[in-house]
């Protein structure tokens, strides 16, 4: 993906300034913060090898995240953070843009995220999230940030999706590893949540 990403996030084409496979999305957000990136990042998780168009697009001002968009689900804002499969290595491409190039795009309220939210949701690195909040301009720093864990735990659909995906993956791998004889025959996998 060279840019201007897709769907509801229409970002102008930027200049590619950094492109590599990193061990986690945290590395990409640190890189953006360290180089005070104004522009956007396209993060393609390793797990996306099996998924077409799986990528997260994040815009930045002075290294601080502003917008978040998950390409596969067309989710924006905090919803994009729960939809984006952030675990494991990913390819990180950082693009620079002139500061004013993002002004209009950044007015898309439904795609905006609090400054520390991507780090909180996607990396669990609270120090990184704090750095993002500290670096944010005062008007953004003062904004109420929703509790990322509470938001995640309240999102039953997202959690059901994680559970269903893990069930399918476990079954697929059990067959691959010859462990299918050990699978629980009673576990039909139809009730992903609240099976207590």
């Amino acid at each position: 993906m060279s840019v201007g990403p897709t769907g509801r996030l229409a970002v102008p084409h930027g200049t590619l300034v950094h492109s590599r496979v990193v061990e986690s999305v945290a590395v990409a957000f640190r890189e953006a913060l360290d180089r005070s990136l104004t522009g956007y990042a396209v993060l393609t998780p390793q797990a996306a090898l099996l998924l077409e168009e799986a990528a997260g697009v994040f815009t930045f001002e002075g290294g601080v995240p502003v917008l978040a968009y998950d390409v596969a689900s067309d989710a924006g804002g905090t919803d994009a953070l729960t939809a984006f499969p952030a675990g494991g290595p990913c390819r990180a491409e950082l693009y620079e843009l002139p500061a004013d190039a993002l002004d209009a795009v950044h007015e898309t309220d439904e795609l905006r995220v609090p400054p520390g939210a991507p780090a909180d949701h996607l990396t669990g690195d609270t120090a990184l999230a704090d750095r993002c909040r500290e670096r944010a301009p005062a008007d953004r720093r003062d904004a109420e940030e929703s509790d990322p864990l509470a938001a995640f735990l309240a999102d039953e659909d997202r959690i059901a999706a994680i559970q269903e995906e893990a069930q399918a993956e476990a079954a697929r791998r059990a067959e691959e590893w010859g462990l299918d004889d050990h699978l629980d025959a009673d576990d039909s996998g139809t009730e992903a949540t609240d099976r207590r």
Binding site: L153, I159, A170, L179
Partner: protein, 255 residues
């Protein structure tokens, strides 16, 4: 009579080994406990338990060079089976033998804690979860860690391994964790065993080669682990059943 627990988390850094030894020491006040470093590819329990210099580890047993007893050390009121860290040891280890090692150990203990690999992506990594009676899920109060914990539980469920409980570790925000744990509980099959605060004593304990409960027994983290262990209800099955299950398990391919 024995129950085998896999202490598991989706990824590293949750404090799984610290938790395994802490739960082990706390449970050892009432039970005969054996702790096994089942993470044969990235072992680290030996550093936490002051066993870094021992001559014989699980790697030697898995290579056929030593009997199981030779790798079992009485430490901190428990029987501890550390694993070596050399690549050569890992290469020479025959995973097939792990089943019989654990079966041997199951004959002579009440509680078997398997410190499991922090991964789900290989057959040998998942085997402790497949073989255990129940899984203790260790997680941190972050979105990625919760997501991983949910995945671990699904893998365990797939193999008919129940969740004994969930342990929140490295908790920084004491005020919020109770609400988070309560919200999380409806997604897990077992109860929240405890919430353990982030503690500098964990790091200093590791540097000293001592489990937390030996190094800083009065620390808030140590107290939290003891409370968690008290919440964990051990259901002892027949030792022979556990031993037989391990012996009959499918053998993982060499890595």
């Amino acid at each position: 009579m024995v129950e085998a627990f896999a202490v598991a988390s989706g990824k590293g850094g949750t404090g799984k080994t610290t938790s395994t030894l802490a739960l082990g020491m706390a449970l050892a006040e009432e039970h005969d406990v054996t702790v096994v470093d089942a993470d044969t590819g990235m072992a680290n329990l030996l550093f936490h338990a002051g066993l870094a210099e021992v001559d014989v580890t699980l790697h030697d047993v898995l290579a056929g060079d030593a009997p199981t007893d030779a790798a079992a050390y009485e430490r901190f009121g428990m029987r501890v089976v550390p694993c070596g860290t050399s690549l050569a040891g890992f290469r020479d280890a025959d995973p097939e033998r792990l089943r019989s090692v654990v079966a041997d150990l199951a004959r002579d203990t009440d509680v078997l804690l398997l410190d499991s690999p922090a991964a789900l992506g290989s057959k040998s990594a998942i085997l402790p979860v497949v073989l255990a009676d129940r899984v203790v899920v260790v997680l941190n109060p972050t979105v990625p860690s919760l997501s991983d914990a949910l995945k671990v539980q699904e893998y365990a469920r797939s193999y008919g391994t129940d969740t004994a409980g969930v342990l929140f570790n490295r908790v920084r925000d004491d005020g919020a964790i109770d609400r988070v744990a309560e919200q999380a509980e409806r997604y897990f099959d077992g109860p929240t065993l405890g919430t353990v605060p982030e503690s500098d004593a964990v790091q200093s304990g590791r540097q000293a080669g001592e489990p937390l409960l030996a190094h800083a027994p009065d620390s808030p983290a140590a107290r939290a682990y003891r409370e968690a262990a008290a919440t964990l209800e051990v259901r002892s099955g027949a030792a022979e059943d556990v031993a037989a299950r391990f012996r009959s398990a499918v053998v993982p391919d060499p890595p």
